[in-house]
Symmetry: C2
Subunit: 163 residues, 2 copies
DNA sequence: CAATTATGTCAACACTGCTGACATAACGGT
DNA sequence: ACCGTTATGTCAGCAGTGTTGACATAATTG
């Protein structure tokens, strides 16, 4: 029943699909981040704090420079937020052994607790969505998202990872 | 070959899938919005301007209140950005006919041009990603994104739409 | 030893969201 | 006709986050 339309005007449908895609991503991201933002607001933190907690938790001992690459922000932007997290003992620093200029980042227990609180809601959201959508859909989601991100990020994503 | 692991510790794998899902969404959104942000910076605009241009273009004649519902922000936040767009003639306003309190919003030609410039890159991104991923993957992406967004947004998305 | 690298800091600016308070005009019902 | 509600707008202040530019320190490297 989409047949005739497709034949008559394939371009219109295509445009409509793309518009819908943009909106799917927009609304999903909007709602995906909303709850976390509310939790963060309690301690005068923002989404940037969550991102740092997340990736430091993901790669314990990550050097500052690698974190900058992941977040794609300037060191000044990172520094403001990271120093807060260090000062308030959510994140700890340790000089690198190989290269003592580096400051390797770790979550403290306090940081782990907050990270867990923030991320668990997001995990539950995906768990529910994945369950409803099914394995085939999940694989499709994965493919499309990889296609949307820049080649550099896609590469890092697909490689065994290095940090 | 994933079999033994799945049997031994299904929960670990599941956690890993969820973590990956979060990162897929994060990196895809980050890169999806980056180019547009750069274009907007030219005229001292930000992502908020794009969102307004996008949804006014999508629903010509949309009243301010409906736009607020879509964006999920306060009228004060919207007002600052919207007034700029009106003042600089990217958006025009017209009193509603049914309800003359309403200000119905439309893109001017200038607004249409900017919106097109901003959104076309995003459409191309999805066009490429959709093409690479294939129709089945696209349907999967759609399902997962609908599952991630709040019920309210999902409902609006699936209904024939009303504005 | 000199150049480079990893990291940090101070300062200023811009965008975007929030809350609170107040204002105007139109709608709707009694 | 009047009054409460609704749609919209505006002023003001605060907080978070990103940017650029400039400068500083310590460690690595050739």
């Amino acid at each position: 029943m989409a047949e005739p339309k497709t034949i008559v005007n394939p371009l219109f449908l295509r445009e409509d699909d793309l518009r819908q895609a943009i909106e799917l991503l927009f609304f999903a991201y909007r709602d995906f981040t909303a709850r976390g933002d509310a939790i963060l607001a309690r301690q005068q933190f923002g989404r940037a704090h969550h991102r740092i907690l997340y990736f430091v938790g993901r790669y314990p001992g990550i050097p500052v420079g690698d974190l900058l690459d992941i977040l794609n922000i300037t060191k000044q932007s990172l520094s403001r937020v990271l120093s807060q997290l260090v000062r308030e003992e959510f994140v700890s620093q340790k000089p690198g052994t190989r290269d003592r200029r580096q400051r390797l980042l770790y979550l403290t227990d306090k940081g782990k607790a907050l990270e867990r609180e923030l991320t668990s809601e997001q995990r539950m959201r995906f768990a529910a969505a994945y369950k409803d959508a099914g394995a085939v859909a999940v694989e499709g989601f994965r493919k499309v998202m990889l296609g949307i991100m820049d080649a550099k990020a896609r590469k890092r994503f697909l490689s065994p990872f290095e940090t």
